[in-house]
Each structure stands twice: as structure tokens, then as C-alpha cells.
Symmetry: C2
Subunit: 345 residues, 2 copies
Amino acid sequence: MIRLIAAAAIALAVSLVGTRLLIAFLRERGIGQPIREDGPAGHRTKAGTPTMGGIAIVGAAGLGWLLSDLFGGTFTRRGILVMLAIGMAAVVGLIDDGLKVFKERNLGLNKRAKILGLVVVAVTFAVLVLAQTNVATTVSFTRWDWPGIGLGELGWATLAVLLVLATTNAVNLTDGLDGLAAGASSFAFSAFVVICFIGFRHPDIYGEQSYLDLGVISAAMLGGCVGFLWWNAAPAQIFMGDTGSLAIGAGLATLALSTNTILLLPIIAGLFVMETLSVILQVGAFRLLGGRRVFRMAPLHHHFELGGWPETTVIIRLWIVAGLCTGMAVAIFYADFVRLPGVIE
Amino acid sequence: MIRLIAAAAIALAVSLVGTRLLIAFLRERGIGQPIREDGPAGHRTKAGTPTMGGIAIVGAAGLGWLLSDLFGGTFTRRGILVMLAIGMAAVVGLIDDGLKVFKERNLGLNKRAKILGLVVVAVTFAVLVLAQTNVATTVSFTRWDWPGIGLGELGWATLAVLLVLATTNAVNLTDGLDGLAAGASSFAFSAFVVICFIGFRHPDIYGEQSYLDLGVISAAMLGGCVGFLWWNAAPAQIFMGDTGSLAIGAGLATLALSTNTILLLPIIAGLFVMETLSVILQVGAFRLLGGRRVFRMAPLHHHFELGGWPETTVIIRLWIVAGLCTGMAVAIFYADFVRLPGVIE
């Protein structure tokens, strides 16, 4: 528990200070974010805000994770692989952000290169996890609700790749309003803190030593996101960029894969799922129904903005939705956990 | 657990719809909030926003509490008394708000009448609790950390009155920016949900049947606050008024008194404490040091506003502070709880 708190506190402190320094550094060099030209008109004023804030999130989380080792506990293979996936995804995002900034266009890496990069991240993670740990290659809500669907190693690896791609993309889409993604991610990581903490306290049930380490990573990412949110809060002084959103997405996906809560992830990260569905629905309807739109603009948050909600209202309401989803997910996990024979708490 | 979720869900739904209806009702009648004339100049534009939103919070929480009984569980004396205190404090606030609105001044009840009303609430609560329940008249962090300081019935009743006065006042002071108090209260009530849930699952340790009921009330107040926040989010369409802030303060104080987490309350409600301290420091320094000021303006949130932080930034950052305080309080409670002999989880 002390290790969890230490990781979160260190990451929070590093992120608070680090983001501040990053803002100063980027501003000095005039490095800012070009804004998508087809977005809501009001967003034009955001051009030039420093981006790549994800550097602070990932750096702070990494440092929190590393330094928390001083408070006892040991690193585990699973934990190291999750951190590796987060770091690699951050690098993909960093290349993308770098191209955007220096080529001064909102597009960055072309889509194929980005997907390829993320596939490399996911495949590396899946192969190493399968080779080096005894991961359960089943799909379940909470690992205990029902035996789960056995996938075999190849099936599990495929799922891992798809999940990493889907989650990174979902966080990326959600990252369109000041603080929206950072706040929603904070909720999602806090769910993993609780899940891993319960798993850690019951090694007899979860049969796995890595939960403490995974919990520390969740806590460190939580601290990193909250510290970043301090500066990213509307009106944002910095954006997380793809560096942040891809790293966060990779973190959520690999944590779910490592704790076998894959089916719970869509609830933990409910807001990200809704945002993604809104894009899929919008594009699908546009193509299938010959140019019709379901939403005023996708992703979802732009729909509400164009519907007349002030930006801060959209942000706070979607945070509420994210918080409710996370609360529901934790309740499901806990309700399932206490049904187990022999569990007192 | 189902009862907790039901209470929160019902209160959330009622509050979401109820606040909307209340806004329409108050707007139709042109009933709005006069703004303090000595506050930051930017706040003048908020004049006329409907107030008394606390009606929706308390109404929703009451309904959630009552209806959750359908899902099993029974009401307890302690629960009924907490709800009674919340309701009575809401009535005091309502009278105050009503006077403000109809006399069109920001002051409302004179201070003495308001304090007198709250003293009546607190004394009623304390006397009935002492007469009808076996409340522990000690002061402790978590009831288990150390034997606690025995106060005797009179001492405990005095403390109860002071705590209700302090907490209601603290929430009232914090309620000065859109959504600030509602968001911070949501965090505080969620801490009590966790505390009561742990207490309820361990009747052998906590020796008290009322924790489920108290947890339901916390969950219902949480739902009420979150539903209200949906509309209260910046830019606010409604304020909670004294109806809300006094009821929330009374709820937090009586929950802490009933669960014997009195010393933990200042951490659970950390933001409210900071806001109050800022006022005390400001007024104290002004009087003692002959007109010097510690802050640009008290309470704290106005200090940051005048320091150039945009209003939304102040709100979100103070929410972060509130969330951190609540997280710390829950961690302290939990850490102390698991040290008990015989506790596995």
C-alpha cells in the first residue's frame, strides 16, 4: 500500500513540476499544436498551445514506478512489459507529434505508419508476455465470473493487438477538449489501482505475484495524469498530444490484458468507447446511408459543442460519465470478487 | 451492495431530472441569486442565475434513500437521524435563500438567526442520537486506530454542535465558484460510501448494524450531488444555495459523528477546511495586524481568481485537491482497518 501511494505521489509531483517545465521549454521554442481545420470554429484559438505533454505523463509515471521500488516490493516481468508497452507507444506518439509540429500540419504520421508502429508495440508486448509469463489466454470480465473463453496463444495475441489498437485510437479520439482525456484516464487508472490492489491482497485467489507491480504502474499513471491535468485544465496551457494518448491507451489495454479484465475494460474506459462508437456510427452512416450524419460532428464531444453546450460543460459532463462508468466497473469487479468461496471481505 | 447502487442510481436520476425542472420553474418565475457586491467583478454576470438547487440534491437523496429500501435492508435509527439533520439543515438554508431572493439582497437571514437554526439542528441530532443509539462518545480517526479520547455525553454533544456549525459553514464558504462545492462534496460523500461499506461488511468488528443505512445515505447524497453537478457545471445554470451547502455540511458532519471518523473528517473534506482556514487567516490577520491581508481575497478560490487563474482552472485544480484529500482519507481508513487482528482483506 505504501508502495502504491509512493508511486502515485512521486508521479504526481514529477508530473506537476515536469509539465510546468515542459510548457516553458516548448513555449520558448514556439513549438505548438496546429488545430484540425475541419473542427469547430471556436477551436482555432487553440492553435499554438504547446503539445507533447504526454512526455511529462509517461516520464513521471516511469519515475514513480522506478522510485517506488525504494519502498519495498519487486519489479515483475508483467509490470516491466506493461511499462515497456507504454514507453514504446509514447515514442510512436512522439514521432507523430514531432512531425505535426515541425511540418506544421495537424496530420502527423500518415495513418499506416502510425498503425504499423502500434502493431509493433502490441506484438512485442504479446509475444514477450506469452514467452515470459504464465498469462491466462482466456477472455473474461474479472477472471472469476465464469471460466472465460479460451483463446489459445495465437488468438490471445491477435486480441492483444486489436485491443491495443482500439484503445490507443479511442483515447486519441477522446483527446479533443481541454483536460477531457486526462480526466477520464485518471478515472480509468484509478479503477486499475483498486483491481490490482484487491488482486495483490489475495495471491491465494489470483495466483499471481505481479498485481502489486501492476497496481504501482496504475497508480503512477494516475499520478502522472492528475499532475498533467493541473496544467491541462480548461483553458489548457498544454496538450498531451499523441505522445500522451497513445501511451495512455497502451497502458489501459496492457493492464487489462495482464489482469485478465479484458471484457471489463470497455466499462472501465466507458467514455473512450462511446467516443469511438460515435465516430464509427458517423462514418458508417455517412457511407451506408449516402451522406447522412448521425451526429452534428464526431467524435461525440464536438456533437455536444455544436449543440450549444459550452466547452467546459461538455468536459465536466463527460467526466461525470467517465466517473460513473469507472465506478460501475469497480462495483462489478468487487461484487464478483466477494462471491468467491472463502472471501470474507 | 445492490442497495447502495440503487440508492445512488435513483438519487442520480432524480437529481438530473429534478434539477432540470427546478431550473425551468425558477427561471419562469424570475427567481435568481443576487451576487455579493464585494466579490470579484467578473462574478456580476452571474446575477439572476436560479438558486436553491439544494432542493433537488436533498430531494433526490431522500428519495434514493427511501426507495432503496425496496431492494432489501432496513432503516436504522442512526440513518434516520442523519437524514433528519440533512433535511432540517436544508430547511434552514431554504429560509435563508428565500429571504435572499425575495428581499433581493445577497445576505439573507441575519447571521445569528442562521447559526441559531443550525444549532437547533445539531442539538436535535445530538440529543436523539445519544438517547436512541449506542453511539461511541469518543473522538478518533477511524474508531480503531487507538482507543480514542472519551468525551462523555455532554462533551460529545458539544462537539457535535461545533462540528455541524463548522462543516456547514465550510461548505457554504466553498460554494462560490460554479460546481466547486458540488464536485468536492461528491468526492467527500464517496469516501463515506467506502467507509460505511467496509463497516457494513464487518459487523463483527464495527459492532453496528447501521453502516449499510449510513452507506446508502452517503451513496444517495453522492448521486444527488453528481446529478446536480451536471447542471451546475461551469457555466452554471443553477446554484445550490444555502439549501444545498448547509444540507451537505450537515450530512458530512453527522456521517462523521455516526461512524466515529470525526478526526478523519478534516481530511475527507480537506478542501472545505482549506477554504475555511483561508477566511479565518484573512480575517484574523486583518484584525490583528491592523489591516494587512494574507490573501488577495478570501475564501481561497477568489484569491486564485484574482491571481489571474481563469475560473475553470481554479475549479478543476481545487477539485484535484479535493480528490487527493479524499483519496488520502480513504487510504488512511483502509490502512488502519487492515491492521486489525483477524482482518484478511
